[in-house]
């Protein structure tokens, strides 16, 4: 009897997989997005049918979506092993007060959900089925016509709405666009009309990026295409140079790209690549003494110089580390540099300059003038790293049009 029930369930599941694969071919973005989410929720049971369809399908766009699913579904299990399961919630409410909805969602999501501005008594209707953290937060914001910020001390809901940017959900991650600018630039001999688009990966707060901000720029997004609805390439470069991000939100990794301002909407497609720390280990190096060396696993660190000064003090270290393919550059794996003195006196420092290869590095860190004699140089070393590749496609990104 149990076998028959299981068989029936398997048949129903495969019917559902086939139905969702058909929906992937829809002309409607919402329909396709919904199918992607359903197939990701079904998980590895959908893989055989997806592999069969990938070999048979003629339409290149559909094939890309299927191939992205063939990569993203197995990743779920790997992610769960490293960082724990994705926060998910199933919940429905009809005409419920906003505060009540937030109270109900806070515990299963493991988040503090606060209101700063929106009316706690405003009513909303919402239905969440096995929704990820990000799907749930977006669902509340959409239903209540408000927005939220995922801050270090919790989630805060605010007045105002986000622009209608496309979103992709992938387990612990939310991939979207946070900003689009149309830029008209005039200078004698050099004038441009460009669009600046800022994709972003947001991640759950239990995750710790292996690289710090600036360093993400070269590795976070591998954008394969920026195209208009007809598939024409719009990718471009700015005459004022690449520039740099100047504002970020916590738990978000952003990147920006330029495109020609020839279309009212854009599609960006590529792979989001993020590196998260699996294990950070504290390294302690004595400032004085014969042995100024520490070992962490197969890595060896030596303090080769300490120079006190009236305007700044510097510490130079050398590291010999095992080669780790795909790891961030070694100096980026050194974090939270501190000089410690007696009575727990401490001062934090920052990287100054140095050189490195994949297996060795020499780097100098600078500190402000010290009011104590330091005894130890302490830092955190990112000992193990987990790399995640997430194929994505964001369609229908609106380009602002100039209006006086």
């Amino acid at each position: 009897m149990a076998t028959i029930v299981l068989l029936a369930a398997a048949i129903l599941l495969q019917d559902d997989v086939s139905r969702q694969i058909e929906r992937l071919k829809s002309d409607a973005i919402d329909e396709r997005e919904s199918a992607i989410r359903e197939l990701e929720a079904i998980g590895s049971a959908a893989l055989p049918a997806l592999q069969k369809e990938a070999a048979a399908v003629q339409d290149l766009e559909t094939r890309y979506r299927i191939q992205a699913l063939l990569k993203s579904i197995p990743r779920r299990e790997a992610l769960a092993k490293v960082f724990g399961a994705t926060k998910r919630v199933t919940y429905s409410a009809r005409e419920a007060p906003l505060r009540e909805v937030l109270d109900a969602l806070g515990k299963p999501l493991g988040e503090t959900l606060r209101l700063e501005g929106p009316d706690a008594g405003s009513k909303l209707t919402i239905e969440l089925k096995n929704a990820t953290l990000w799907e749930a937060l977006d669902g509340v914001a959409r239903a209540a016509k408000i927005r939220y910020e995922y801050r270090k001390d919790g989630v805060v809901f605010l007045q105002g709405q986000e622009p209608a940017f496309p979103v992709r959900y992938s387990e612990q991650f939310r991939i979207s666009v946070v900003e689009v600018k149309r830029i008209q630039y005039r200078k004698p001999g050099s004038s441009e009309d460009l669009v600046l688009v800022v994709p972003e990966i947001e991640y759950q707060r239990n995750m710790n990026p292996a690289e710090k901000y600036g360093a993400f720029r070269s590795s976070v997004f591998e954008i394969e295409q920026i195209v208009d609805p007809q598939g024409n390439n719009l990718r471009s470069r700015a005459p004022w140079g690449p520039g740099s991000l100047s504002s970020r939100r916590p738990f978000g990794i952003q990147e920006f790209y330029y495109a020609k301002a020839d279309s009212k909407t854009l599609t960006i497609q590529g792979v989001a690549k993020a590196k998260f720390s699996k294990l950070d280990q504290e390294v302690v190096l004595p400032i004085e003494g014969e042995v100024r060396e520490a070992k962490v696993g197969d890595a060896t660190f030596t303090l080769s110089g300490y120079t006190p000064g009236a305007t700044r003090s510097t510490v130079t270290i050398q590291g010999k580390i095992p080669s780790t393919p795909g790891a961030p550059d070694p100096p980026l794996r050194v974090k939270k540099m501190m000089l410690l003195g007696p009575d727990n006196q401490r001062v934090t420092g920052q990287g100054d300059r140095g050189s490195f290869s994949s297996t060795e590095f020499t780097y100098t860190y600078e500190f402000p003038p010290l009011k104590f004699k330091p005894e130890k140089f302490v830092f955190e070393w990112t000992a193990e790293i987990f790399s995640i590749d997430m194929p994505f496609r964001l369609e229908g990104i609106p380009v602002p049009q100039p209006q006086d």
């Binding site: 600018k181 005039r186 001999g189 305007t311």
Partner: protein
Amino acid sequence: MNLIAELLVAALASLQDSPTVTLDQSAPVETHLAEIQRATGGKIKVHLDEPGKAVTVKVKDASFFQALDAVCRAHGGVTYFGRTFAGPDGAVDLRPEPWVEYPVQYSGPFRLTVSEMVRVDQQSSVGSRAWTRVMLLVFGPPWIGVSEESGAKADFQVLEAKDAEGRDVLPPANDADPEERVRVAAYPDMANYESSNSARKALRLRAFDIDRGLSILKGKVVLKVAEAGDVSLAPKAGESVAGDSGTLKIDTVSEHSKSIDGTTWRIQLTFSPKDPKRKLRSLVEDGVGDGNGTWRELRLPKQGLTFEAVIGPLPQLPTALIFRVRKGERSVEAPFEFRNLTLKKG
């Protein structure tokens, strides 16, 4: 030998009585430039692809920059315009590049230029908004520092701004800058920046059609400036030199590193100002010379009066270091009024 004081430049031009020059002949570029230097005292360095090229220049009682622009315009293939037009020694650096005309106003000894316009229409998770930025540059002649880097301050004030239709595009007073995830105005070509003799401000205005430009952009730059005098100091611990604003003393001289090119020294100095409220940057400019004509930028701290000069690599420690010590600080105004301001779409 505890006190060595040597003022290398004695004659400094007055800010009020800006020196002028008259050019009225066909002569090699170098001859015109030499006359500008002689008449104004402003140092000019020149690197020409085609030395000795004769050009005809006619200007009467022109300011340093008016005369310099006239020479560059007549030549067509030489310019000084750029992010940094003068080195740490304050000399204007002419290089062989095409001369490009920008909207310009001469205000006493100063040159005011609109270099770029940018309009941004933004949709963002932090808000949707549109605005325009007009980049205004003020250049000071070699004898007047205008930027905070050179110890001065430049306060840009826009009094009137109207678009081509005559609509007021000045933002309301106390209007906060737009919140942005990526700040385009922070990019090198669009940012506020300062070099030794220039200060640039990205003036934010309401959104307007930048291809039609502005019918008027009027205002002033209030500058707190001073004259800079070169002061020579032997690089030895304990040596000091007294200037108008205080005493500069060497605390330590130490070898920093050695390479095949020579030795690099770290020299720690402390300034003791006569007025203890004065900050280091208002007393010393950000360049140091090694006495052989080579100047390097100093990394002057924003706080405190102790700083470091890194010299080298050199085969040996120089016998003298040159610092630019400021004196005679005062406020001056450089008014501007651009009419029918457009930048051609390139």
